[in-house]
Amino acid sequence: MTKIKTYWKGLAEFNQKPLVEKLKQNEFVEEIAVDDFLSDKNIPSTSTTRRDFLKFLGFSTAAATLASCEAPIVKSIPYVNKPEEIVPGIANYYATTMYDGHDYASILVKTREGRPIKIESNKTCTNARVQASVLSLYDSGRLKEPIKNNNIISYSSLDSEIKSQLSRISEKNGNIVILTPSLISPSTRKLINQFSSKYNNVKHIQLDSVSSHSILEANKLSFDTRVLPMYRFDKAKVIASFGADFIGGWGHPNNEGDYIKGRNPKNKIMSKHYQIESTLTLTGSNACERLQIKPSEQKGLLSNLYEYIVGKSEVDKRIEKLAKNLKNNKGNSIVVCNSNDIETQVIVNAINFELENFEKTIILSKPSYLKQASDDEVNSLISDMNNGKIDALITHNVNPSYTLQNGSEYDKGLKKVGLKVATSLYKDESASQMTYCVPDNHFLESWGDAHPTFGEYSLMQPTIKQLFNGRQFQDSLMVWMGLSDGYQKFLQVFYNNWGINWDKALHDGYFNINEDFVSPNYKYVDGFNGFLTKINKANYIEFEMAEKISMGDGSQSNNPWLQELPDPLSRASWDNYLTMSAATARKLGVKNWNVSNGALNGSVVSLTVNGLTYTNVPVMIQPGQALDTVSMAIGYGRTAAGKCGNNIGFNAFKLGYGKADIKLIDGEHEFAATQLHHTMMGRDIVKETTLADYILDPSSGNKKAKYLTYKGKQPAEEVTLWDDHDHKTGHFWNQSIDLSLCTGCAACVIACHAENNVPVVGKEEIRKSRDMHWLRIDRYFSSEMTKQKAADENISSIEMYAEMEDPSANPEVVFQPVMCQHCNKAPCENVCPVAATTHSREGLNHMTYNRCIGTRYCANNCPYKVRRFNWFKYNENDKFDFNMNDDYGKMVLNPDVVVRSRGVIEKCSMCIQMIQAIKLKAKMTGKPVADEDVQTACSSACSTGAMVFGDANNETHSIYELKKDERMYSLLDHLNTAPSVFYQTKIRNKS
């Protein structure tokens, strides 16, 4: 028998292993090793001789040849004992729960060979952060080992030290505090109760990064129950939101889906949504009408509205229409407010009570438990800490040093606490100050349960063995109590005692329990009339903090997918900034401008709010921001988040709300925005109409371009040189995107990232317009100037187009997801010199990466600009230190989709791997492809049903009808590219 064979790539490898190893890992051969090779350190200072030149030449040729050879030995290593449920190559799905203290979702997790790779919605809507949380699991910046004072310690010594200290504190009757986010896990609550019976003086305090304290307290005053109501946005005919961004994350995650349910133009009835806010939010950009106010006006306006509703005849002009509409829709409306002021929220309660909304659209009898924290408790904890009254502090996944406005007070108090234990995913700003840090398990590695709303429960189960030496919080608690059973068993016993069928509940991921409920009674708070105020508009620039859909509260800020996700409104990524209106900017001398390569730059200012000054704060001029108000997103300015999240922008948590002193200073900031234009420049890229017009004529706003031919005026599809493909015989995969239902929430963008191994490229590359997103969501603002207006007022074209570039101060906003349109007469296919992009008979435009030679003719010829060029080998080039270049981060890659190499074009494939998989399943079971089975990553992530995917040749698929809909249009239809992706006109309720 022969001995085990070893292959060399040549003599060079045999003789010179280390150098060749180095060569292999370097993407650019010329960067490698010429210096190493020529060992003459003085080479740069001497002139290169002919002989040297030949050496260079010969060596680089040899190196290039070496690097291009492929290693032939590939190992195939099967399991020793294969788990029965795992079949290599087939995905398993597990139902579990995502909860990180800020976001909650009941989800399905797709795992391949034991690795979670994708998150799907199970019962709740999933936003971008939930979709991206699968990557946070593989964050190599997580806390990996238990540590004591920055040194790794074993669990046994950690546990014995903590236990003995807890006993000593308990004997002395010292105070022990457990600090967690809103605790929605009933079993953990029971554990904490047991913990408090084991040790004396245990207090459990909850801390929410973005708290709903004021609403909870207001409900306590008005209803005597300290809970958050569930809002039925689907049942409301009139919605008035005073700053509440309920699509972006305020309240329950299902708000987004419910809201859109009430706004489907198909039903010929759409809720009327008024947004009264100062910072343009995602919710505000979807509103029918949007009113810009300063934060200081909010309470006065609400008082004014209340007085009108209870009988006063006059109301502020700006909200007159809204007030009348509300009054006419008693029991069918919702008024919500984001205020942190309890009195304001009491007024909101009074308005809703007078409008008879409670228990009709605002359900308090079946409340939500997602936010429970009390700011008062937290503040008293901080003062207790500073007074040296707290002897032990155990924190669980909270980051008070970062999220609290008075975080420095907390830090100061922390020094006086005896026993400091953090159970945390990261060694973050707060955990790094603790004596002991126990690495917590990610929710995908943990057992757990959740009770998010009345009667609804969901379970959490591990979908992967823990990656690091972590231990979940509940297990730690049990060990410190001296219980050895483990939390998994505890949890199972807990629900078995309730008579729950554990296996079924675990399989489904959730279960409902019919519980008795009582409708709380409303009462006017004592001294209510004293709460009402006049409208006092502050005469200074006001600051308010905002929340971005991508970053949330910043707990996932080390997630490169989220960092690179462009903000739906500003379209900037990897950044936070001060947003202000164009008028305010003019007043302060602040500017945004484009540099020679098109990238956006902005002025920087120094910003002082509540005594805290940040200098070099970049300013983004944001249409829609109210005059003399500025805002900044939370979730940035982290210092201990990890390599991706650190030192980006400023921490807006510390600023809170209040007067802003802004001074223009020298310097400029470089933004990385993926869309540099704001308006459609008079073109009908997004076709829209009003509800009234739509009811009269369903095709209104959807007029097709016609060309003058010898046969008279003809629509574009009649004027063509091309033959049609046969799309009648088999499948014809089409996608419909309803612009009326799209909220711009960007969950689809992250889903696409996860499904298709889309690389992260970083801020520098985004600035060069080299973003790799296969799916982008274009955002357009309306402009004051229209073609109609120019014609009416006889304005010249030059002037018209110049003015069209500027969006209105309070613009209408549209979102338009654009991916490869899969043209059936594709401009890209004609120009490819190597036939790397070709057409399929199923209506898809194929991109064959291994055929592509990178001429980029296709990208030039694509009218939709959806083709992306791989400038680098993002998965191997160390300059792109993101998930694809990380041993842990690589585990999230979808094995069914190839990781593209340098020098090729890539683009949306319409998730062809999912189509092929579902076709194969249908063939194996011998059944036609079912409508509900066939999805793309984006359509399945869409909470509102705006994206529908299916076979347009199959009458049972909903796409079949959608294609015939009178609202259906193709993007840039005058080009007659005949795309397989089409849009439904946007309908606005302007009644």
Partner: protein
């Protein structure tokens, strides 16, 4: 004539002998081999080498037909064996007289162990199936050169003997190339050969037909799939359901090899499975706390990362046999790559193979339309898009 008759007789005798030995072998492999070796080695039961000499036939027949009854009857030798082997009685087997005869004659003349020839080549073993065209051309050119050399020499010798003027061989060859027409043809000739050579070499890059690496365990498909007739799906169970056919995990091997500790080549190779899972063949139990090591097979069929291939599509939907692509696997002692696995090879098959549309509701609608579109033609895979790039490259 006598010679011929003798030959016929002999061959008859031999073939008969082989016939009975084969059925005997079949019986042995079917019924006995899981507990008995044909050597001295003990398995669950004793090794059967020389058993027919040790015991008389009647005794053996009684034992095989119903050993427990035989033991109960009080036969001393039977009881002794029973006690020696942990009081485990052998299951009863009912054979006809012929079958007994076959079995005993097999046991008397066990097959001589095949000596497995050592492969003597490092690296990729390339089976030569004839010379390629360019080599033939070159050999032909060489032959021509030698012939012309010889002919010119002969001509010169003849001329010399006639005292005529001679031109040396070199000069006469050189003068041949001085003619422009000859020059042109020679250049063309060399160029054509060169281009052909270059084409052959480049087309051969990354084609790894006959790749036959040495595996960590000398597992024989010939023995398992061929002689024992184990169904391919028993080990490669996911070929019907998944994109991967799956290499069996070691616990699948143990389903049989917890009993079979010795193969034709001895215990060494099977011991490697035991080393992986931690099985003690003497105590016949798993070693507690053993750190299991996976078996690191060398992958033979390597599709590049950018090509998607799904076994279940081809096995379950198209109904292909494993051998269609993997060749006579049941005859391979060591597996080698049978097919080219190049894109041309895939496409050729997709152009020729008909889609199995009958009795599959998925295809019903499509089939109706295809029958009209391709009236009278075979509906092959390429006609439903089987040649489209994106079907395999994404």
């Amino acid at each position: 004539m006598i010679f011929v008759r003798y030959f016929i007789l002999l061959s008859l005798f031999v073939s008969l002998n082989i016939l009975s030995a084969q059925t005997g072998e079949e019986i042995f492999k079917r019924d006995c081999a899981s507990c008995h070796m044909i050597t001295d080695a003990k398995l669950i039961g004793p090794g059967l080498k020389g058993v027919t000499e040790k015991y008389e036939r009647e005794w053996l027949v009684k034992w095989i037909t119903n050993s427990s009854e035989f033991i109960a009857s009080g036969d001393e030798r039977a009881i002794a064996i029973w006690e020696e082997y942990n009081k485990i009685a052998m299951p009863a087997f009912y054979y006809s007289d012929d079958e007994f005869e076959a079995l005993f004659s097999y046991l008397e003349n066990p097959p001589v162990e095949e000596v497995v020839a050592d492969a003597d080549v490092d690296g990729v073993v390339v089976a030569e199936d004839g010379m390629d065209a360019s080599t033939q051309l070159m050999l032909a050119a060489l032959a021509l050169l030698i012939i012309s050399w010889v002919l010119i020499s002969v001509k010169n010798s003849l001329k010399e003997s006639l005292n005529e003027e001679t031109v040396s061989v070199q000069q006469s060859i050189l003068s041949f190339f001085k003619k422009p027409i000859n020059k042109l043809f020679s250049v063309l000739f060399v160029a054509i050969i060169g281009i052909k050579l270059f084409y052959d070499v480049t087309m051969g890059i990354a084609v790894t037909t006959n790749y036959q690496p040495k595996q960590p365990i000398a597992f024989s498909h010939k023995l398992h799939a061929g002689m024992q007739g184990v169904d391919c799906n028993y080990c490669h169970s996911s070929a019907r359901t998944s994109k991967h056919s799956g290499i069996p995990s070691a616990n699948v091997c143990m389903n049989c090899h917890n009993a079979v500790a010795e193969g034709p080549s001895g215990t060494e190779e099977i011991q490697k499975i035991y080393d992986a899972v931690g099985w003690d063949p003497d105590k016949r139990q798993y070693i507690e706390g053993y750190r299991q090591k996976p078996i690191e097979w060398i992958r033979i069929h390597n599709l590049p990362d950018h090509a998607y291939f799904n076994h279940s599509q081809h096995v379950s939907v198209a109904g292909l046999e494993c051998q269609d692509c993997h060749g006579p696997i049941q005859e391979m002692e060591e597996v080698y790559q049978y097919s080219e696995l190049t894109m041309g090879w895939c496409i050729d098959c997709h152009r020729e193979s008909a889609v199995m549309m009958a009795d599959n509701e998925y295809y019903d609608e499509m089939h109706k339309k295809l029958k009209v579109k391709y009236a009278g033609e075979k509906i092959t895979v390429d006609k439903i898009g089987g040649l489209e790039c994106g079907k395999c490259h994404y």
